[in-house]
Amino acid sequence: MKDITILAIESSCDESACAIVRNGKEILSNVVATQIEVHEKFGGVLPEVASRLHVEQISAVIDEAVEKAGISVADVDAIAYTRGPGLIGSLHVGVQAAKTLAWAYHKPLLPIHHIKSHIFANNLITNLKFPLLALVVSGGHSEIVYMKDDNSYEILGQTQDDAIGEAYDKVARVLHLGYPGGPKIDKLAKGVESLYKLPQPKTQGEFDLSFSGLKSGVLQFVDRCKRKGETYDDATLAASFQETALNEIMDKLVKAIDTVEVNQVLLAGGVAANSRLREKMDEAFKDRKEELILPPLWVCTDNAAMVAVAGYFAYKNEAFGDFSQSAKPSLKVMDIQK
């Protein structure tokens, strides 16, 4: 079979990235310029600063990716790019770069959904075996996704309010732990018993998630302690929050998996790095027949290699885009070609 080589561009948040990947597997190059240091100073991503930095970085990142791959843009089969969801200003930069390359080199365009990329990223470390179930957990998303094949995508459950990563960030702020909050709470809670009773999330949909009430519950707990002049232990509170949040996810995931037949269960998105979540996944799936895929951190963070993998499958499915499509900050999977 003929090789399929995809050049991909990712700029949905605070990483400007370009990668060239062959057959959705072999990384020829994977270059990421991160803005985290700049944003850390301010405690978060700044949209206009982010898009300006993307403009500054994107050409250099593409040049480096092409040079490292040792090929010419003329040799690739298609240009993939992240169309959404993400920060509008940041997305525009990547979309424009992708269109320019596609136009100049007469290559087809592949608009890609950011969350699909995170799931397909797992193909870099294993062979995806459909049908599969993916738990996508990040700063902006919390979804349980069923994929019957490489061209289908069904959301079985999703957060009705805050994403899990966002809840971590906000609770970390209450505990004065700084940004990003996820790794800090994970570290503080390690080995600590969860003793404080916090409100259990409630949702209408059977597999839906919710973290807003839990977030408010932590705030009210802290307020109540202050009002009564009682002290509390930060690590115990962090552990109590984490256990409640992760139990909610595991509970819904295990319920969802009993309704579908899948070969694999995989984790995707930045919160996949959480050590307690990985422990819980290991525990929950050790006696089950489904293969559990827990990707290493480099696969979970934003990069362009994952977009190239998603691009490879989109290319095979002939899911091409055109030059009239612009960035969509609230892109839905079914709308990718519209």
């Binding site: 700044l46 206009e48 902006g140 408010s216 969509k328 900050p329 609230s330």
Partner: protein, 146 residues
Amino acid sequence: MKTVRVKSIEETNALANKIATLLEGDGLICMAGDLGAGKTTFTKALGKALGIDDVITSPTFNILKIYDGEPMLYHIDAYRLEGIQQDLGFEEVFDENGIKVVEWYDYINDVLPSERLEIHIALDGEDRLFQVSGIGKKYQEIEEVL
């Protein structure tokens, strides 16, 4: 300023319904209130009242979320923009026809149009107090009939 006491999610929905009708398809709502006060909950109720089927989730991460509908709903969260002076890169949103909701609006007050409906949510025991102020003729009228 008018204060509306809300005791349940049903009452939040009723208030959102009323405001959605009074806005007549276009307007700016600026929301304030602590973490967990219920800003996103109110926006969800408003979206429902506007006939938007999508799940409206917190826009904190992406800062701007856009929901297709008649009218469109633009949901902005300035939570992550505290303490910085900058262009947003999407100010044109405020010129669009549709409902614009801004959470944590005081962080980007400089770039917001002055005419708007301000809603501050405060907790009072188990209840929530919605303090509504209309600035500009259209919004003053809304405040009066609430």
